[in-house]
């Protein structure tokens, strides 16, 4: 293993950690804006999303360079591919942060929509899952990652309950259909943030254990690293 390869991998690690911080900050500010109803936030977050997009390109290029020049295998190969995947997940979380801010502005522009109480719980849980999945990546802790995956169902249930609540309000008060649709989208976006956190956590398990834990119901192919049902 050359010193050049070690340096490239260390640089890649620093890059993905910087991107993690930027995205976490972005999604937190976006959700804070949902609570405070800041209408001008979307534009600011859109500018910061551009910086995340730059990270996305830069990290992908770093990964491709390492793959092309050093042909990593085993844990090194898993690390590079996992960084590429996590990078893509984070880029989408940043996009969702902007979308949430845009929808928040939409809700604010149409007067007050009664915010469901459980939305706070849902956003807190989704953001916590994202934080914990990133921590699991940094600590290379597959057990912590698996715990994140298990929490996704709770967010899915909150998503279904909140959608029901919003639909009920829209039926009772048709004048609130437009802000209701914005809120509907916000709920869906927050649910997607939890999905991306779950994907990152699944990637962490692959990084550490070499086992693919996605789609456990699919039959396992011979020789595959994927954990799942019987062949």
């Amino acid at each position: 293993m050359t010193i050049h390869f070690v340096r490239e991998m260390e640089h890649l690690h620093r890059s993905i950690l910087s991107m993690c911080s930027a995205v976490e900050e972005l999604i937190h500010d976006s959700v804070d804006g949902l609570r405070s109803g800041q209408t001008e936030l979307a534009q600011e977050l859109s500018g910061r999303d551009g910086e995340v997009d730059e990270w996305d390109i830069r990290i992908e290029e770093e990964c491709l360079k390492i793959l092309a020049l050093y042909h990593p295998v085993a844990n090194d190969l898993r690390r590079v591919t996992v960084v590429m995947k996590i990078c893509a997940e984070l880029e989408r979380v940043a996009d969702l942060a902007v979308s949430i801010a845009e929808r928040s502005a939409g809700i604010a522009a149409h007067g007050s929509f009664p915010m469901p109480e459980r939305l706070t719980e849902m956003t807190r849980e989704a953001l916590s899952m994202l934080h914990d999945s990133i921590d699991a990546f940094v600590e290379q802790n597959p057990n912590a990652a698996r715990k994140v995956c298990q929490r996704d169902e709770h967010v899915d249930q909150l998503n279904r309950d909140l959608i029901d609540d919003v639909v009920t309000v829209m039926k009772q008060r048709p004048e609130l259909i437009e802000p209701g649709l914005h809120l509907f989208s916000v709920i869906r976006h927050v649910e997607r943030v939890a999905d991306h956190a779950t994907n990152i956590a699944e990637d962490v398990v692959y990084l550490v254990e070499g086992a693919i834990i996605r789609h456990p119901r699919l039959p396992r192919r011979a020789g595959s690293n994927r954990l799942g049902g019987a062949e």
Partner: protein
């Protein structure tokens, strides 16, 4: 040894190079059990057990001196030529224990051919190099020999480059061509198993590429065991990879698994370049 010379069964459909090959589902061409090997008092192989599936490529990897070439040479008893060497255990080649002293090693080596690191053409014509083995085995018919030479040179992907100069000296060929000629010469004795000891280590990238492509084609009909120091080459050409260290077989498995998530830390450390 009739079992060695019996006709080969109809081959199953073999995919290109399936690095996820489930070796447990393939019949074994070679089945080594608890092999130990000694040069005099010095033991160099320790309790090796390894199954090589038929019509597949098995790569042996490991740092210099780990015993992989010694192991390769035990598969056609080439080590018998080393004075003071001895071995224990069982090595079944198509069901027959070749470590039995009664085995006819000349016949064995006819059916378990070998290609060496350095190409070793005879100082004869291209035609005579390939025809040599069959001639020694008693084939005298010139037409039969001509067909055989063409067939073997085609299988070795050399025919198009030499068909117009079959009677010129093999020594005039390039290094890559000489190595493919040696493969053609090995094929001429109709082996079932081909052992390759770093067959491309002295070749340029284009010649290496041709040898690797050739291995990919040959494994449809032959069982190949290759020793290589080139990790990328092992991952490109083999279905199964075995990692040797200090005379012991540390890990063997489908190549895809060995190069993405090996079970043993020693394997991981070696293939990622952390030692060796």
């Amino acid at each position: 040894m009739p079992a060695i010379t019996s006709a080969m069964s109809v081959p199953p459909s073999v995919p290109g190079v399936d690095r996820n090959l489930d070796t447990s589902r393939h019949a074994s061409a070679i089945d080594v059990r608890n092999m130990n090997f000694y040069y005099g008092e010095h033991q160099v192989l320790f309790d090796i057990s390894l199954m090589v599936p038929e019509r597949s490529v098995t790569a042996l990897i490991g740092p210099s001196g780990c015993g992989k070439s010694t192991f390769l040479r035990t598969l056609n008893r080439m080590n018998d030529l080393v004075e003071g060497s001895r071995s224990t255990g069982v090595c079944l080649v198509e069901g027959q224990n070749i470590m039995d002293p009664a085995v006819d090693v000349v016949l064995l080596r006819k059916h378990v051919g070998m290609v060496f690191q350095k190409s070793t053409p005879f100082p004869k014509s291209i035609f005579e190099n390939v025809a040599y083995g069959p001639r020694v085995s008693g084939e005298k018919n010139r037409a039969v020999l001509a067909d055989l030479v063409e067939s073997c040179l085609r299988k070795a992907a050399l025919w198009d480059e030499v068909k117009d100069r079959l009677n010129t000296s093999a020594m005039a060929l390039s290094g890559g061509q000489q190595q493919r000629l040696c493969i053609a010469r090995t094929l001429a004795t109709n082996p079932r198993i081909i052992l390759m000891d770093e067959p491309a280590s002295a070749l340029d990238p284009a010649s290496t590429d041709r040898i690797e492509n050739l291995i990919g084609e040959l494994c449809a009909n032959y069982t190949i065991v290759i020793v290589t120091h080139n990790m990328q080459q092992a991952s490109r050409v083999s279905h199964q990879t075995a990692f040797f260290f200090k005379g012991r077989l540390v890990e063997v498995g489908p190549t895809m698994k060995i190069f993405t998530s090996p079970s043993e830390k020693q394997t991981e450390d070696y293939i990622t370049g952390r030692f060796g």
